[in-house]
C-alpha cells in the first residue's frame, strides 16, 4: 500500500524541475525503488557536448538493439548541428534523424517513463529537456509457437496461442487480413499493468455483445490477475454457473472462425488462451476437426461426443439407480451377470461408485501435477490399483470398474476442458440423487438441469441456443455439421450485423 501511495503521489511530477540529468535519473530510480536491475548508460551526443542518458531494465531489452540502434547512431552521428540549437531541438533531431527504433514515444511524466521501462523499452533522457523518448527495444522471454496442448486436432493447424499478446495477435491477424478487424488494448491491473486486447470484426459483430464485453472488461480493469483463466472467471456473467459461459481456446483457427461468426475475443497478455464470448453448449461441444471432415463423419463424431457428454454425466448415476432401486429395468441375463459380479462386494453401489470416482479424480489430478518423467508411475500404479487389485481384493465389482472407466473415457472425449470438468461435478451430484431417490431423483435432476441450462445466458445469448429457443437453421452448424457450402449464413442466434459469411463486408461497413 505504501508503495502504491508513493507512486501515486509523484505520478505527475514534471522532470523538468530537476534540471540535471543526474537528478532526473536519481528521481526516476528512486521512483522505481532503486531496483538494482535498472541500468543507465550516459554518453554524449556526437558532435555536440550534450549529456544524454539511457535507462532500461537489462533483462527486458535486447542488448544488441540498444547498442546498435540507440547508442551507436547517436554517438557516431554526422549530423551538421546548427549552432544555436537548444536541448529540445537536439532531442527532436535525435528522434527524427538518428533513432532506428520502430516505436518511439515522447513522454513527460515519471509514471509514463517507468511504465515504459517496465515494458522493456529504453528511456532516453537529454539534459535540459523536459521531454524524454521511449524507444522500443523489447525482448521478452517467451515460448516458441507449439501445438495446442488442451485442444489437439488430428487435422488442422498445429499452431497454438502462446503467452505473448503480440504473437497471439499476429496469429490471428495472419489468418484474418481484414481491415475491419478491430483490436482494442485495455490496460488491466493496478499492480500488474498487464494488457488485454479486445478483438472483433467491426461490422460483423453484434454491437450489443461487443459493448457488453467491453464494459465487463472495463469493470474488472483494476483487478490484479495473472492469467486469462482468472479473467474469464471475473468476466463470467454468472459467477456461480456450473458451465463455462466464456469459451477458452488456444487454437487460433478456432478463434478466427469464432470472430468470423461475429463473436468477441479477449486476449490477455502472458497467458496462453483466448477468451471468446458469447458461448453456447453446442460451441463447447465442437472441435475444429468437425469442419475438416465431411458431412457424415463430422456429424457422426459430433453425435458420439454428445453421447459421451451424456454418459459422462449420467452413467454412474443410472447404474446406481438401476442396481439398487430398479433391477427390473435390466435384461435378466445382464442382471444375473451383474449380480454375479457383485456377490461378495461389501459396499453399496453408491459408495463403490464414489470410491472409484474419487480414485479416478485423484489419479487425474496426480497425473497433471507430477512431472512428466514420473507420470508413467502414476498410470502404472493407477492402472494396477484400479483395474486389477481392487477387483481381486473384492472391494469393487468389475462392473463398476467398467462403468467408471467408460465414464472417464467419455469425459475425455468432450472437446472443451472446462465443460469436461463441469461434467465431473454434475456426475457426483447425479450419483447422490440416484443413491437417495433412484430414477426418480435422476429425472428430477435432469429437469432441474435442463431448466438451469436454458436459463443461463452468456452476454445476452442463451446457453442452449440454437436448440432452445428453437432455431432449426442453426442446427446445421451445431448439432449436424453441414458441408461448408451450406454454411454461408452466419449463425442466426448471434444476431450479427451481416448475415452472409461469404459476402463479408467492405471497409465502410457496407
Amino acid at each position: 500500500m505504501s508503495i502504491y501511495k508513493k507512486r501515486t503521489s509523484k505520478k505527475n511530477v514534471d522532470v523538468n524541475s530537476y534540471n540535471s540529468i543526474q537528478n532526473k535519473i536519481a528521481t526516476l530510480k528512486n521512483f522505481m525503488n532503486n531496483s538494482t536491475d535498472i541500468r543507465e548508460r550516459r554518453f554524449k551526443v556526437g558532435g555536440k557536448d550534450v549529456d544524454i542518458a539511457i535507462v532500461f531494465i537489462d533483462n527486458l531489452v535486447d542488448g544488441y538493439m540498444v547498442q546498435d540502434h540507440i547508442i551507436k547512431p547517436i554517438m557516431s552521428n554526422s549530423f551538421e548541428w546548427p549552432t544555436n540549437s537548444d536541448y529540445a531541438s537536439i532531442l527532436e533531431t535525435i528522434k527524427d534523424y538518428m533513432l532506428y527504433g520502430d516505436i518511439v514515444d515522447e513522454v513527460y511524466t515519471l509514471d509514463e517513463m517507468s511504465k515504459g521501462i517496465l515494458e522493456g523499452k529504453t528511456l532516453l533522457l537529454i539534459e535540459g529537456s523536459s521531454k524524454a523518448l521511449l524507444i522500443n527495444t523489447q525482448s521478452l522471454p517467451k515460448r516458441s509457437i507449439e501445438e495446442p496442448q488442451t485442444e489437439p486436432a488430428v487435422k488442422g493447424p498445429n499452431e497454438g496461442f502462446i503467452e505473448s499478446l503480440k504473437d497471439n495477435l499476429a496469429l490471428i491477424r495472419k489468418r484474418l487480413k481484414n481491415p475491419n478487424l478491430y483490436v482494442e488494448i485495455i490496460h488491466m491491473g493496478k499492480q500488474t499493468n498487464n494488457k488485454a486486447a479486445l478483438i472483433y470484426i467491426k461490422g460483423t459483430v453484434n454491437n450489443k455483445i461487443a459493448t457488453e464485453v467491453r464494459s465487463k472488461l472495463n469493470s474488472v480493469k483494476d483487478y490484479d490477475i495473472v492469467s486469462s483463466e482468472q479473467l474469464m472467471d471475473l468476466m463470467c456473467p454468472k459467477p456461480f454457473s456450473i458451465f463455462p459461459l466464456i469459451q477458452w481456446t488456444e487454437r487460433p483457427d478456432k478463434a478466427v472462425s469464432c470472430l468470423l461468426e461475429g463473436k468477441v475475443g479477449v486476449i490477455y497478455d502472458n497467458s496462453r488462451g483466448m477468451l471468446i464470448a458469447p458461448v453456447t453448449l453446442s460451441n463447447l461441444m465442437q472441435s475444429p476437426d468437425d469442419y475438416y471432415e465431411n458431412l457424415f463423419i463430422g456429424t457422426a463424431i459430433t453425435t458420439i461426443r454428445y453421447l459421451s457428454l451424456l454418459i459422462s454425466i449420467f452413467l454412474p448415476a443410472i447404474y446406481i439407480a438401476v442396481t439398487s432401486f430398479h433391477p427390473g429395468m435390466l435384461p435378466t441375463t445382464l442382471l444375473l451377470s451383474i449380480t454375479g459380479a457383485r456377490v461378495g462386494v461389501p459396499m453399496h453401489a453408491f459408495f463403490e461408485a464414489l470410491f472409484m470416482a474419487i480414485t479416478l479424480e485423484i489419479l487425474q489430478e496426480a497425473g497433471i501435477r507430477l512431472p512428466k518423467v514420473v507420470g508413467q508411475t502414476v498410470s502404472i500404479v493407477g492402472g494396477l490399483v484400479i483395474g486389477q487389485s481392487v477387483v481381486e481384493a473384492g472391494i469393487i465389482s468389475p462392473i463398476m470398474v467398467i462403468i467408471i472407466s467408460v465414464t472417464a473415457i467419455s469425459s475425455f472425449a468432450i472437446p472443451n476442458y472446462s465443460l469436461s470438468l463441469s461434467t465431473r461435478v454434475l456426475r457426483i451430484i447425479f450419483m447422490i440423487l440416484a443413491a437417495i431417490l433412484g430414477a426418480f431423483g435422476i429425472s428430477l435432476g435432469v429437469l432441474y438441469l435442463l431448466g438451469y441450462m436454458c436459463s443461463l445466458r452468456s452476454f445476452g445469448i442463451g446457453f442452449m441456443e440454437p436448440i432452445t429457443p428453437y432455431r432449426f437453421k442453426d442446427w446445421k452448424d451445431s448439432i449436424f455439421v453441414a458441408p461448408q457450402f451450406f454454411l454461408k449464413n452466419r449463425p442466426e442466434y448471434l444476431h450479427s450485423s451481416y448475415e452472409t459469411k461469404r459476402k463479408g463486408n467492405s471497409k465502410n461497413g457496407k
Partner: protein
Amino acid sequence: MNRKNRVILIIICSLIIFLTGCWDSIDIENRAYILGIAIDEYPPLPEDPKNDQNTSQNEQEKMFETSTEVHTGTPTYAMTVQIPIIKHATLPNTQIGGTSESRAIKTWDITQVGNSFIEINHSIATRTNLVPYYEHLQVIVISEKVARKGLENALDFFIRDPEMRSRTKLFITDGNAKDVLNVIPRIEDYASIYLAKTSQNARINAEIIHWTDLGQAIQSIYSGEDFHLPAIKVTQDEILNKGAALFKKDKMVGWAEGQDAEVIKMFHNVFIGGIFTSEFVADEHDAKDGVMSLEVIKAKTKITPIVQGDDIAFKIDINIEGNYAEGVNHPLTERIDADFLEEAKKAFEKSIKDRCIETIEKMQNMEVDALNFGTVLKTKEPGYWDRVKNKWRDIYPNVKTEVNVKVDIKQIGNIQ
C-alpha cells in the same frame, strides 16, 4: 424470486425426500430374483428328486411339508419359486463362478403351501435371507390339475401384484409343475430360462405355442373367451413340447397336440414358420412312401363370418407362401418344373385343408372355441353376436365352415 418464494421452494424440495427414499434401495445382490414359479395342487406336496443327494435340504423340505398352517381355511396350492444361486452360476470371467462345481445345485427351489398366493409369497420370504423380487419372473408353470380347477383364482395374485409383468410366459404341464423347475438343463443354468427360451423356436416348429402369456390369458379369462396356453411335459433333464392346453372359460378341458396346435396357430394368424408335409402327387410311378415338405415363410388366415338369417357359417381363407423344402423318395422321372409345382401346390392345399377340417371338427367335438370363431364374429358381426352371445356355446359345435387354402411356392431350392 423473492425470499419467501425461495424458502417455499427449499421446503418443497426437501419434501421430495419423503416421497421415496433410501429405504427402497436394496443392493442388487441382496434380492432373490425369482425366475420361475410352479403352481401345484396340495395335497400332496410335489416331490423333489433333485434334492435327493442333498439330504439336509431335503429334510428341510420335509420339515415344511408338515408345517402347513394357514390363517384361514386349508391349504390348496403349493407354490414353488426358483431362485438362482448366483455363486454357483456359470458366469463368464468371474472368479466366484463355479467352474469346478458343475454338479452343484444352481437353484434354490422353495416350496410353500397355502390357499392364497400372497400368503405363500410372504411365507417364502421367511425362508430366505434375500428379498424376493418378481420383476424378472420368466415363467409360471401350472400343473394340469390346478388348470382343470380353473385359472382365475390361481392367477389373481399375479395380475394384481405390481412386480408382475404381463409378458410372463404361462405353461401348463401334465405332471407336477415343480418337476419342470427341477429339470437340470444342459446349456442354461436355470430351468426357467431354458423353458422361457424354448418358444424362440416357434419360427422353426409350428407346434410350439409362443404368443400366449399371462396378460393374454387374463384378458381371455375376463372377456369370457376360450383360449389356449402352451403345454409341456418333462423328463429328468429335458422339457418337451406338448402343443397347447385348451381352456374353456378359465378351466382347462383338453390338449391340442401336434397338428392341432399348428392349425390353432394358423387360425390365430400367429403362424411364423413351420413345415407342412404332403404325399407326393402320385401317378403311375411307385412313390408310395414319398413325402414332400413345404417350408412356410408366410401364412395368412382370414376368417369371415357369413350370416344368413339366423344361420351362421365361417369362410376361412388361408394363404400360404413357402419354399419347396424337401422331397423324400422323389420319383426320378418327375422333374421339378412348373407343371410339377402346380400339382405339388394342389397336394399341399389338399393336405392342409384336410388338417384344418380335422382340427375344426375336433374342437367342435370338444366344444372349445380355440379357433377364434367367437372373437371374429364379435368384431365383424356385432349385431348378430349380440343376439347369439348367450347361446354361442350351443351354436358353436354345429357351426358350418368352409376352408379354402391357397399355397404359393416361392423357391425350389438352391441346387438345380
